[in-house]
C-alpha cells in the first residue's frame, strides 16, 4: 500500500499541476472535450476502484449507478427546475440506496458470480428506464433544458468550465481513495480482498465493509452520471446505462492497476485518448474502441494482472540494488 517515489514531493505536485493545466492553454474545443471525457473516466475509475479495486469485488454493472445519477438529476432539473448541483446529491442518494439493495442480495456471491449479478442488475435497471416512456422518455432518452452559460445550473458553452469541474471531481475522488487506503477501512477492504475467511477470523465484519465500499463507490459514480448529463446535455439508456459503459469503467481501472491510488488515473490517461485516436485512425469504424479495450485487457492480464502500476513498480525496482524492496519484485514476478 505504501509506495516510494523518486521525485521529491514538491516537484511531483508541480509536474501534476502543469500536466493538468496544459489542456486549458489550447483553444481547441475538440481536444478539450477529449480531455474532459478522459478526466470523467479517471473519476469513474477512481470511484469503481473503491469496490472493484481496493475491496476486490469485480462489479461490471457500475453503469447502473452512473445512469441513476444522470437520470435523477436530469429529471429533477427538467421537471422541477432544481439545479443539477443539488440534484446530483439526490442522484447519489438514489444510487446508494440501489447499491444497498444490490449489495445485500449479491455481495454474498463470490468472484465471477458477483460480476454476473452486477451485470444482470444493470440490465434490469436499463430495461426499467427504457420502459418508463412518459416519466423518463423511454429509449429516446431525455434532453437537458438548455440554459447556455449558466454555471449555477451546471451548464456552460465553454468546455473550460467542464474541464475545471472534471478536474475538481478527479481530485476529490483521488483524495477519497487516498484517505481510504490510509485508514482502517482500506486495510480491512484489502484484507477481505486477499482472504475473506482470514479477515473474518480477525474480527473484520466483511459483509458490512463490502457494503460500505459499494455504497461509497455507487454514490461517487452517480455524481459522474450527473456530470455527463450536463456535459453532453442529452442522456439515453444506451449511453448512460449500457453494458459497454460498465465494462469500460472496470477495464480502465484494471489496466491502470486495481486497488492502487494512481492506477485508475493512469488507466484513463492511456485509454481514453487511445480510444479517440483509434476511432480517428480507423475512420470511425464501429466498435473499434471496444476492440482496443479487449486487446489491452488481454495483454495486461497476460503479463501483469495487477496492471500498469505494478509494471512501473517493477521498472523502478530493477534499477535498485536488491534490498528490503526486492521482496515486492519477486512477489510481482512470482504472481504470473
Amino acid at each position: 500500500m505504501m509506495s516510494k517515489h523518486t521525485l521529491p514531493a514538491g516537484a511531483r505536485v508541480a509536474l501534476i499541476a502543469a500536466v493538468a493545466a496544459a489542456p486549458l492553454l489550447s483553444d481547441n474545443q475538440y481536444l478539450l472535450s477529449v480531455a474532459v471525457i478522459t478526466l470523467l473516466y479517471a473519476y469513474l475509475a477512481l470511484s469503481w476502484n473503491i469496490l472493484g479495486g481496493i475491496a476486490g469485488q469485480l462489479s461490471l454493472g457500475h453503469a447502473a449507478y452512473f445512469g441513476l445519477g444522470a437520470y435523477t438529476s436530469t429529471w429533477l432539473f427538467v421537471h422541477l427546475g432544481l439545479s443539477p448541483w443539488l440534484g446530483m446529491w439526490a442522484g447519489a442518494a438514489v444510487a446508494v440506496a440501489a447499491s444497498v439493495v444490490v449489495g445485500l442480495s449479491c455481495l454474498q456471491l463470490r468472484g465471477a458470480y458477483f460480476a454476473l449479478a452486477t451485470i444482470a442488475t444493470a440490465m434490469v435497471i436499463k430495461t426499467l428506464v427504457e420502459n418508463a416512456d412518459s416519466l423518463l422518455g423511454g429509449p429516446r432518452g431525455m434532453e437537458v433544458t438548455l440554459l447556455r452559460d449558466a454555471p449555477l445550473y451546471f451548464q456552460h458553452t465553454r468546455k473550460e468550465f467542464y474541464y475545471a469541474v472534471a478536474l475538481a471531481f478527479v481530485c476529490a475522488a483521488w483524495f477519497v481513495n487516498r484517505q481510504i487506503l490510509r485508514s482502517r477501512f482500506g486495510y480491512y477492504l484489502a484484507a477481505l480482498r486477499n482472504d475473506q475467511e482470514a479477515a473474518l477470523a480477525l474480527g473484520v465484519p466483511t459483509t458490512r465493509y463490502k457494503l460500505l465500499a459499494a455504497m461509497l463507490s455507487a454514490g461517487l459514480t452517480a455524481l459522474g452520471g450527473t456530470f455527463y448529463a450536463q456535459f453532453v446535455l442529452y442522456i439515453s439508456p444506451d449511453k448512460v446505462l449500457g453494458p459497454n459503459l460498465g465494462v469500460v469503467i472496470a477495464v480502465v481501472c484494471i489496466i491502470g492497476g486495481r486497488g492502487t491510488l494512481w492506477g485508475p488515473v493512469v488507466g484513463a490517461l492511456l485509454l481514453l485518448p487511445g480510444e479517440e485516436l483509434a476511432r480517428t485512425l480507423s475512420g470511425g469504424l464501429v466498435g473499434v474502441d471496444m476492440m482496443l479495450y479487449g486487446l489491452l485487457l488481454m495483454l495486461v492480464i497476460r503479463w501483469e494482472p495487477r496492471g500498469l502500476m505494478a509494471i512501473f513498480a517493477r521498472w523502478r525496482e530493477r534499477g535498485r540494488p536488491a534490498g528490503a524492496g526486492a521482496a515486492t519484485v519477486r512477489a510481482a514476478e512470482g504472481s504470473q
Partner: protein, 240 residues
C-alpha cells in the same frame, strides 16, 4: 480457576455424518489445553464452531460468561476468542506488517497505533526484521508464525491454535512451544490442536482426546497418554 471457554454437549452433523457428538469440556483462565485425536476426529470442527465459522447442531458454547454459539465470527473475535487456520491464510499480497495490522486494527482504530501494536507482536513471534516482506514469500515456518502474529494482534483472551507446529523442524517447534508458554505468562489462555505429541505433552496443563467426534478421555498429559481408550484410538485394538 475460572472457566473461560465451555463446550456444553456440542454436536455437529454434516448430513448423515456426525462430526462432533455431545462434546463437553472447558478451558480456564491462563490454562493451556491440548486437543488431540486421530485424523478426522472432529478437532477442527470444534474450533470452527467455537470461532463462529460453523453453526452448532446441538449444545451450547459459552465464552467469558456469554453464550457465543450463533454469533458471527467477527463478533466472537471482538469478544476475545481468536483462531488460527490449519492451512495458514496469510493476506498474500500484503506485507508481514500489514498482515499483523489487520489483527491490530480490532483494538487500535488509528493506523499509527495499529502499526505500533503490530510491530510489537511481530517481534514477539520472531518476525522482527521481516516487516516489509510480502507475506506470500515467507517460508512455511514464517507463515506459521505470521498466522499466530495476526491472531495475537487482536489481543485475545483465548487463542485457538490449529496445528501451528505441523511441518516445522524440531528447532522451530521448540521455539513455537516457548512462544506459547510465554503467551500464558501474559495472561492468554490457549487451546491447541496438535499432532506433535512431544510438543503437546510439554505444553498442555490438560489434554482432551476426541475420536470419531466424541470425547474419549480428558486429564493430565501423563494420565491421558496411558489411558487404554486413547491408546486404542491411536494404535488400534491389538495394542490396548
Amino acid at each position: 480457576m475460572t472457566t473461560l471457554l465451555e463446550f456444553r454437549g456440542v454436536g455437529k452433523s454434516f448430513g448423515g455424518l456426525r462430526a462432533s457428538d455431545d462434546v463437553s469440556f472447558t478451558v480456564g483462565e491462563r490454562e493451556i489445553v491440548g486437543l488431540i485425536g486421530p485424523n478426522g476426529a472432529g478437532k477442527t470442527t470444534l474450533f470452527a464452531m467455537a470461532s463462529g465459522f460453523l453453526p452448532v447442531s446441538d449444545g451450547q458454547i459459552w465464552f467469558g460468561g456469554r453464550r457465543v454459539d450463533g454469533l458471527g465470527a467477527a463478533q466472537i473475535c471482538a469478544a476475545g476468542l481468536v483462531r488460527t487456520f490449519q492451512i495458514v491464510k496469510p493476506f498474500g499480497e500484503m506485507t508481514v506488517l500489514e498482515n499483523a495490522m489487520i489483527g491490530a486494527f480490532l483494538r487500535h482504530a488509528r493506523r499509527d497505533d495499529a502499526m505500533e501494536a503490530a510491530m510489537k507482536v511481530l517481534r514477539r513471534v520472531g518476525l522482527g526484521g521481516r516487516e516489509h516482506q510480502v507475506a506470500r514469500t515467507l517460508t512455511l515456518s514464517g507463515r506459521k508464525r505470521l498466522e499466530v502474529a495476526k491472531a495475537l494482534a487482536t489481543e485475545p483472551r483465548l487463542l485457538l491454535l490449529d496445528e501451528v507446529m505441523a511441518g516445522l523442524t524440531s528447532v522451530e517447534t521448540a521455539e513455537m512451544v516457548a512462544l506459547v508458554l510465554d503467551l500464558r505468562r501474559t495472561g492468554i489462555s490457549v487451546l491447541v490442536i496438535e499432532h506433535n505429541m512431544k510438543a503437546v505433552m510439554q505444553l498442555s496443563d490438560r489434554i482432551v482426546v476426541v475420536h470419531h467426534g466424541r470425547k474419549i478421555a480428558e486429564g493430565a498429559p501423563n494420565a491421558v497418554a496411558n489411558d487404554p481408550e486413547v491408546v486404542k484410538a491411536y494404535l488400534g485394538e491389538a495394542h490396548a
